[in-house]
């Protein structure tokens, strides 16, 4: 069999396309006219990214020579090893931008939590697929799988890296759902996020979302106890968020939430980033202001524009066509991977692919959602596009694993 017929060219192509777009945007954000306001180590980010991309390509290619079995075999070791490093980081890590999630490796700064995501996916997928049946139908298995995610999630949260922790936690509904967790319970698990989001926007919307979700849960699952729990939880969430926003949160925390819902509330303070980000994207128009021509980018109105706000750089300089292309590329990539999961016979591979998809999807949602003022600003990179070596390497690692699993799709069995 010719390997190139089985190779997933779409995934590989999109991966490289997004990386190239990222390079262009990082160049503009660090090497353009704006460089005069940036310290040299940030100007060098473009070249560092080039190095990381080169390393990642080599790793992805190497991974294609590995047997797919290897991933499930090493999954627990991989998970355990990075869990230990995560704990190590918690005590001896380097703090950058308030998050203690970095370690020094031969002079390189490495963000362990990024790779922890890969280890978690592998371990959970392995756990859920190494018995005869798909496991999450049984709630005790589901709970253990969830625990596998919660442990690194809490550790990362303790490192003060909220974004990555959020990504880890979001693996729970996706992976458990895939492995057979009842629909109603799956919906119940993600319902706090949806209801919470709408409640912060507006109490009425939150209430409507809660009612709709409770009704859907009732009809999907027809288990009265679940519906009751759901309703109680929803009431607690809505009440809790209202109480938290109005009386519990520190003024600056409250300001961040209010600023997201209404940035003009404090245009010079917390709302500043949101307004500048929206202005950058909005002023790009259909075709953008042109490469290195974005005033918001080049006059340094955007914070962290090479990582968390890279989407604004693309939106401003390449307009709707450029920024829209990025989203469409992600959409094709994710749909392609998920259909790959659907047609895969091996449960481990299915679970891994679903986990990878969910991680990319959450990154895409939070990064572009923050930049466009849909979500509060949570610092998360846009996979392949944002500057960041460990993130790029980890995300590419997942691409490499996905490419491998998909390439050997026909040879794999339903058993592992």
């Amino acid at each position: 069999m010719n390997w190139y017929k089985n190779f997933d060219w779409i995934t590989a192509f999109i991966w490289l396309a997004l990386s190239s777009i990222g390079l262009v945007a990082i160049y503009s954000a660090t090497q353009g006219p704006v460089s005069q306001f940036l310290p040299e180590y940030i100007q060098n980010n473009f070249y560092k990214q080039l190095v990381w991309i080169t390393i990642s390509i080599i790793i992805v290619i190497s991974l294609q020579f590995t047997a797919p079995r290897t991933f499930s075999q090493i999954s627990y070791f991989f998970y355990g090893f990075f869990l230990l490093i995560t704990i190590y980081t918690l005590f001896f890590g380097v703090e950058i931008n308030g998050a203690k999630s970095w370690i020094d490796v031969f002079g390189f700064r490495y963000q362990v939590s990024e790779t922890m995501k890969v280890g978690t996916i592998l371990a959970v997928a392995n756990y859920l697929s190494n018995r005869r049946n798909i496991q999450s139908e049984r709630l005790d298995s589901a709970l253990f799988a969830a625990l596998l995610i919660i442990v690194p999630g809490v550790l990362v949260l303790m490192q003060n890296d909220t974004g990555t922790a959020l990504v880890l936690f979001s693996l729970i509904p996706f992976m458990l759902f895939w492995s057979g967790l009842p629909y109603g319970i799956s919906l119940f698990i993600i319902s706090p996020a949806i209801i919470g989001y709408f409640t912060i926007l507006d109490l009425m919307w939150g209430t409507i979302a809660a009612i709709v979700i409770s009704i859907v849960i009732f009809f999907v699952q027809k288990r009265p106890w679940l519906t009751v729990v759901s309703v109680v939880t929803n009431v607690v969430i809505i009440g809790g968020i209202n109480f938290a926003v109005n009386s519990l949160l520190q003024p600056h925390q409250k300001a961040r939430i209010v600023a997201f819902a209404n940035p003009s509330f404090d245009p010079q303070g917390v709302g500043w980033n949101v307004i500048q980000a929206k202005t950058a994207i909005g002023s790009g128009g259909l075709t953008g202001k042109g490469f290195l021509e974005g005033t918001q980018t080049q006059l340094k109105f955007l914070p962290e524009q090479w990582t968390d706000f890279i989407f604004c750089v693309i939106g401003e300089e390449f307009g709707f066509l450029g920024a829209g292309l990025v989203i469409v590329l992600f959409m094709i990539l994710l749909l392609n991977l998920i259909s790959g999961a659907g047609s895969h016979k091996n449960p481990f591979a299915q679970s891994v692919l679903v986990g990878i998809v969910s991680i990319y999807l959450i990154h895409l949602l939070i990064n572009t959602g923050s930049a466009m003022g849909l979500l509060p600003v949570i610092g998360l990179p846009l996979p392949f596009v944002s500057y960041g070596g460990s993130a790029f390497l980890s995300n590419s690692l997942m691409i490499g694993i996905a490419l491998n699993l998909l390439m050997y799709k026909r040879e794999s069995t339903i058993f592992t």
């Binding site: 994207i281 128009g285 849909l374």
Partner: protein, 610 residues
């Protein structure tokens, strides 16, 4: 894998596909809304964001004298600025030495600048001497972050003061600021004098320059090479009618006295000199104001800020008599030949004293001798036969008791009473002929300003025209001169017969009457009238109103000296010296000049109110 599991996987795939599609479509929709639908909102926002509008102050218009020489121009003042983020604190020692301040003072100033902004320029030291400025410029290469700003202040190149006429500038008030878009907070606007009256001309138009800035507010140079910048338009220049020699002389003569002098062209109303004494030094109020001086002139009991030449309220005394004669003729209560016998007083209920025993007086002689009896009698007739209001109406047509709308502020309308005024002052039916008869000699409830006397005197001098007194003869805007056209109206009731007699009488005042000692100059034939306004608070005030040449008047001078005594003693010589200067360019009678300079008004009570 059983059927149920396969079905479950198919459904899960659909659900996940739906989630992916849903999220990406929401993101695309949001992107579409921001970039396509709201483009018009965000694009201008990004432009404003990265652009800072900076205002460029226009050069204030200049003020010229009658000979087209500068009276007021602008002088650069240098302000040293600092951008703290670029500044190197190790240079404190050098900078403090250059600024001639202590290092402590300097670091305090720098701290203050830092508190404003690290990245934007702040004023480090305002209005430094040119010497300090040039010292700093010499060392500027060693002083990163230090820059300068050149602003301007009013500068007065001539020796003369003309403080009340020119006026001073002060910071714009909150109220004025809100009424105009041509000012920034902290800008100076004219508060008095011509600077106030012609503010809208002198000001000019603010320029705008668009400067690119980054999020730190750092200045990145002109936007689009400055093509969109709007240059400021300099204010218009003001050409005044002030004769600098006369003005300077009048100020010299009035020094140490209180009062006002107005000299104008009786045919046009162009003011040649206008002095209110005491005056003040405008230069000390320009730029970074001399606060002590400001407090001093505000607290001064001699009220130097008060413009006596247009605001003083004093009875005109005998200078009023020529007008009385003309009104008597117009109201038909006398003819030029009507004679009144003066035995030293006029009796009506009580004795109204005259200055002498003049015997039979006709109009001409009554003016020449300034016979009070004649004018008491005349006022009595007017009041009885035509009424006070007929008199009051005619007086007001000559510019007394009304505003003459000269082009500087704070003009006082004075008092020319009518029955309503007396009703208000004394109460209805509580006043009588006794209050009126005094008015005939310019005493009692009547008050005028030097300017008003000059306006009324001009009508006699020019043959019956009411002139519009003015200080500005033209305005030049962008090399285009716009002359002003002051009005000049015929006062219909003034006829040439009456005017002839009155002028003859006034000529005789100078040749044979009260003004003959000091006002009868060789340079021109002067006609005039002295006046002494009775002052219950001290020595009488001294008036003189005179014009020359008698046959074809070119100039009228009114001098008013508080507590100067008789008009002939001090007011007449001052006016006469000015006329001498006007016609010959120099002072011919040095002894009169010495006399005026050495004259001390006395006695006056220090707490007397004006």
């Amino acid at each position: 894998m059983n059927f149920r599991q396969r079905k479950r996987i198919r459904t899960s795939i659909r659900v996940l596909q739906a989630i992916i599609l849903g999220i990406t479509i929401i993101l695309l929709g949001r992107l579409y809304k921001l970039q396509i639908l709201d483009y018009e909102t965000y694009n201008p926002l990004s432009k404003e964001n990265s652009l800072r509008q900076e205002y460029v102050q226009p050069a204030r218009g200049l003020i010229f004298d009658a000979n087209d020489n500068l009276l007021v121009d602008n002088e650069p003042i240098y302000t040293i600025t600092i951008v703290p983020s670029n500044y190197n604190q190790e240079k404190n020692k050098l900078l403090a030495r250059l600024l001639s301040i202590t290092e402590n003072d300097l670091s305090e100033r720098i701290t203050e600048a830092q508190r404003f902004s690290w990245h934007r320029p702040s004023k480090l030291m305002a209005e430094v001497d040119f010497e300090i400025f040039s010292n700093i410029q010499e060392h500027i290469y060693e002083l990163p972050g230090i820059n300068h700003q050149i602003e301007s202040k009013r500068h007065y190149p001539q020796e003369l003061r003309a403080s009340h006429v020119l006026g001073y500038l002060r910071e714009i008030s909150e109220n004025e600021f809100q009424q105009s878009d041509q000012y920034l907070l902290g800008d100076k606007v004219g508060k008095t004098g011509m600077e106030w009256f012609y503010e809208s001309y002198l000001r000019g138009t603010l320029g705008i320059s668009y400067v690119k800035v980054n999020a730190l507010g750092q200045d990145l140079g002109n936007y689009e090479e400055g093509v969109q910048n709007q240059a400021p338009r300099a204010g218009s220049d003001i050409y005044t009618t002030l004769n600098p020699d006369l003005q300077l002389l009048a100020e010299d003569l009035m020094e140490g006295k209180r009062g006002g002098v107005v000299a104008l062209n009786p045919k046009t109303g162009a003011v040649k000199a206008m002095v209110s004494s005491p005056f003040y030094d405008l230069a000390r109020l320009a730029g970074k104001m001399d606060r002590d001086y400001w407090v001093e002139i505000n607290a001064d009991t001699t009220t130097p800020l008060y413009n006596r030449s247009i605001s003083a309220l004093q009875p005109p005394g005998s200078t009023f008599k020529p007008l009385m004669a003309l009104i008597g003729l117009q109201l038909g209560v006398i003819t030029p030949d009507t004679k009144v016998f003066c035995d030293g007083a006029y009796y009506k209920g009580r004795a109204y004293k005259c200055t002498g025993q003049h015997g039979n007086q006709d109009m001409l002689h009554a003016i020449q001798n300034s016979c009070n009896t004649y004018f008491f009698s005349l006022m009595n007739k007017i009041a009885l036969e035509r009424g006070l209001n007929a008199w009051s109406d005619l007086v007001k047509t000559t510019g007394l008791g009304v505003k003459n709308n000269i082009d500087i502020p704070n003009e006082n309308r004075g008092i020319i009473p009518d029955s309503a005024y007396f009703d208000k002052l004394f109460g209805v039916r509580k006043w009588g002929i006794g209050d009126i008869i005094n008015l005939g000699v310019g005493q009692g409830v009547v008050s005028v300003s030097p300017l008003q006397l000059a306006v009324y005197g001009s009508s006699i001098a020019n043959g019956g025209y009411r002139i519009q007194p003015h200080l500005v003869r033209g305005i030049r805007r962008e090399n285009q001169s716009i002359p002003t056209h002051p009005a000049k109206d015929r006062i219909n009731w003034l006829d040439s017969t009456g005017l002839g007699i009155v002028r003859e009488g006034m000529r005789r005042v100078v040749t044979d009457g009260s003004a003959r000692w000091y006002a009868n100059i060789k340079a021109a034939e002067v006609a005039g009238k002295t006046g002494t306004s009775q002052n219950p608070h001290g020595q009488d005030h001294s008036w003189f109103m005179g014009f020359a040449p008698y046959k074809n008047p070119e100039i009228i001078v009114v001098a008013f000296i508080e507590n100067g005594g008789y008009g002939s003693v001090i007011a007449a010589p001052i006016a006469a010296l000015m006329m001498e200067k006007y016609f010959t360019g120099k002072i011919q009678r040095q002894w009169v000049y010495e006399r005026v300079k050495n004259f001390v008004p006395k006695p006056y009570e220090p707490d007397e109110d004006e």
